[in-house]
Amino acid sequence: MAALTLLETSAISKRFGGLQAVDAVDFRLEEGEIRAIIGPNGAGKTTLVSLISGRLAPSSGVITFKGEDITRLKSYQRVGRGIVYTFQVTSIFRNLSCYENVALAAQRSLAGGLGGGLFGSERAIAERVEAAIHRVNLTDRLDLLAGELAYGHQRLLEVAMGLALDPKLLILDEPTQGLSQGEIAAFCDLIRQLAKSATILIIEHNMPVVLELAERITVMDRGAIIAEGAPDEIERNPLVQSAYLGTGNA
């Protein structure tokens, strides 16, 4: 697949005091792929995607998205470019209805600035909300408070919020954590669906999910990328086996 480069980091680093959480990482993502990042706890996976989404500012290095330097852009500006992050710890508006949760995302991608916020059309928002909610199969729960949903449904709501933002790059941080086997299977189907319209970057500990979904896998350890390749290559890689698969962290 000689696809276009969607996202590229050059020597991106993040230091927290004495801890080098991400150490001069060069990472490239092609448009349209499903990429998984794996690695033991503390390998720097979440820090790396936080740098990409703009939740954290890098200590050094450059990030480009669609060929443009986005290193200095704020997180909310990156959302405007199509970089959408869904949280590892479910982060929904618990006191608002499912509709309102997704509407917040929908209205952002429809309207943008403050002016649009005042004059944006509620009908257009509602249409987009319903489309996103329908894709994750929560249509019958539209009016429930998000906090009242079962845990698995909260994860789905979070994905629906991501969807309503119309992402070019959807970053999912441990999306299957806490889901039942049945929910995981449905979730994998959903991700494959989403991959038709967006590039997917997924951090995941659940190896069967990773092997089933990912076209390429990036392995991180101690802030650096130690291997990258197709799932079968990664499984055979001795470095990976000692750093990750062998240590039983999964």
Partner: protein
Amino acid sequence: MSSAKGKGARIVALHLAVIAALFAVQFLLPAYHHGNLARIMVFASFAVGYNLLLGYTGLLSLGHAMFFAAGMYGAGLPLYYFDVGVLQAFGLGLLASFGLALSFGLLALRASGIAFLIVTLMFAQAFFLATLYFNEITLGDQGFVLSEQARTLTLGGVVMSFADPTVKYNAALLLFSCCMLGCLALVRSPIGRVWVAIRENEPRTRMLGYDTYRYKLLALVLSGVICGAAGAGYALLFAYVGSTFASIQYSIFALLWTLLGGVGTVLGPLVGAGLMFYLVDIAGDFTSSYLLVVGVVLLLLILWYPKGLLGSLRARWLPWLP
């Protein structure tokens, strides 16, 4: 979608009915309560502005008296010293509160949480002390009284004096209606949705792509202007302008009215301001330490109805109440 539309119609109908009821009771009330209600509506407008920031955006301020006072001095000083019309004076009041809220917001919103609260307190205190310091102009805490002539509006050949109870009452009602309906429209707009999101979870709102600083600034400026409109209205309707209205006491009043009526409810400020006004009024008949009575009632309220009256009503029976 039809249910959402029905809900919207019910909400609008309720708020228009409240305005209609306020209009109707002026023909029934004895003069004393008639005058009280006019005052309550102006204070309720003040609380509506305060509630926009606290109830919907989740920013706790203890400095809103400065916006009220900015509107009051912005309208009152030109009326007192120069020969300006009533409408121009009101416009100047709005302008003063707008300028203050914007410049204050640009600075203060760099802080959040407790730090923001303290900054609001400090700014308001500085504003209050300034009104005392420049007492040659403001006449300090003694204040000044606007003449009836200064408070007379000629509109299309009709001469209206705000000293006239009927004009006063209906002007207060007009002011309150504008503030309340404006607030209703704002909180039901997409912008209101973002404000509530900021109140609930600001980091998440930012990750949904919103520049939360700008939304908070907008909320603060609109809140300040509404409070300024109330202050300008007070000067025009009740003829008195003084430093007391810039003091911390009035910032706390705005907070209490809002808490009492129900934080984050559109009608809460009216209920809160009305109850509080009569609480002080009735307690004052029995004891000179009426503030003690007010304090006890508020304690009981926080214990049993921490969401305020309308907030509790909404939680139990009326989930559709905005």
